[in-house]
Amino acid sequence: MGFGPFLLLALMESAVTAATLALTAVGLSLVFGVMRVVNVAHGEFFMLGAVAAWFITNFIGGPPWFAFLMALALAPLAVAAIAALADRLILKRLDYEPEATIVATIGLLYIFQQAALSFYGPQAMPVEPPFNFRIQLPWFGYSAYKLSVILLAALVLIGVWLFLTRSKAGLVMRATQVDRETAQAFGIDTDRVYAAVFALGAGLAAIAAVLIVPIAQAHYLMGHDPLLLAFITVIVGGLGSLRGTVIAAILIGLSDGLIAFFWSPTLAKILATLLVAMVLVFRPQGLFGARTT
């Protein structure tokens, strides 16, 4: 294969990685930005989204596109509900203490993972893609569904951005992010905001998972890699900065993909981790994060 087609394939693959990474990382960043909670269980919300999609598509049956759309609508809602419940039952009672919430979310990670193992099982199970169309280029074929993932992820991200900047709920969230106490003084129920943000963050991870599950099967250990990459992305982009997170996701997704393509996936991981170290040393607030005191 010549260099041109090789690069094209690498770019397409990386774009898919970047798209789902952006969704997952934005969820993580949002939770940190507003709640100051480092959610170690974020990858498990991703996994729960995939597992929920499997249950939903299997339960509904019917044509694959219909089952998939239902999963895309219902799985994130289910995961968001679980997240809101976790926030109310656990995080709120810990008063969102940074150290306590880290330990609590580590606990949640194991609970979700073992719950999936018990109720879903240890095997990887596939969800049928909504369509099986393949784009045939002169040098190679490519799944059209994968390309549609990029488009769908972009749409969801635009939706999140509009929600945060144009809606009243988004305004309330941003107000809470800037100053929780002042927001409370203005009559904002920050407990509800926190629950909503935690649910939204988990829901975004779940959407990413539903999009990815027709490509990679649902498996109880699948939350590990997205968590790692999402953390890297959020640190590079600047904790709490959505714009920074999206740009970092594209940067990391593309570089990870390209390096993995032309050299090796291990080298890609090494370089991404090195990038995190460099950012932490030279620009601790992240590439786009505002310096906070």
Binding site: L9, G121, P122, Q123, P129, I215, L221
Partner: protein, 428 residues
Amino acid sequence: MTKHLIGHAPSRRSVLKGMGAGLVAASAFPGYTWAQSSAPIKLGFQLHRTGIGAAYGRWYERTAQAALKVLNDGGGINGRPVEIVFEDDATDPKRGAEVVEKLASQAGCDAIFGPLFSHVVIGSAPRAGELKIPYLVCSEGYHVASGMLNRWTLQPGITDVRAQVSSMAPWVMQNLGKKVTMVYPDYAFGYDHRDFFTEAVKAQGGEVIAQIAIPPTETSFTRYLPQIPAETEVLYHVMVGPAVLTFVKELGDFYGSGARPQIFGFIDSLEAVDTATPGLEFLEGTHFWEGHNRVKQADASEAETFYRAAVGVDDNGASVSDAKDVSTYAHMFSCWETLFIIKQGMEAAGYQGPADRQKFVEAIEAMTAFEAGNDHPQGAKMFNGKTHQVFGHQFISKVEGGKLIRVHQTAIEDGMYPDAVDYTTQSF
């Protein structure tokens, strides 16, 4: 009740009393050795219930259970009933060694069998050797016959990769092509494929032009596929782990409807996966190695029918209760056959209890051949007691109409190679 005990060390009087009671109890049952010989024989099964081998584990457990029922219905071993203790090793080498320890020391098993993944076997076998417990693996790896393991480790239920690939290489060269690219998992099992298929191809006048190793935990494969050289005539693939379906699907997407080499895969890449899954249509006309034909062939033996029914597998290789639950048919016969070899070995050794473990291993080492039948539904085999390795027939199947149809069967001798070790000269 227990509350009162906390903080109190047992008094000397109570210790003496307890010891006295123990002595009385021991002398009151002089028939203990007699009682033991009618007590159940306990076998430990090291199971990949979770982790990357979970698909195999699910079916290995079912196969072992089915074999156990047949065994006990037929009178057990030496007239004694048999129990199997299943213990999950999470397909993890470190956990594997712990499981061996647990089955041997805590559960008090007479022998252990069942593990498949080669890195787990390599990680666990030394512990079995230290504990001096027979360890019968079902792992296909060349690590048994290579001499890497120990006298307590045997592989009497499944042919190793070295024999598998060298017996099939001539057919692949003659029918598919001479320039081969190999895609294999990046660990011991994959290296056996790499080393011995490359060697066998060379011996046939062919050439392996590229070797692509992929980590078994990988979830995305397209990035590796452009490394396949365009002049490849045969693409040889073998993959394991939870993402095998993704691997095969992405391979299909990559070649699409364009030109592609002949594809020869190990069924490992598709174990527990339905060949009729949407997106796998491209497999039509490609070839697979099978250790045991998943789809019931037209000339299936009576033993084959018996085995299929006992395990609960339909004619397509899926569970009789759920057509979507496809079995790991090409490998799982090894659990069944190993259990019946344990029976044969224990009966030949006059096995009474753990003191006879050495006699049991020696009895298996003395075996030379297994005849096809209900105990050996996969077919006849030859056993090499020196290398602790069995050799059987291998099958090459072609996907026709979405089903795997056998097109070639190797002779047992095709896979034989010179001994690299003589375990019988090693001490126990």
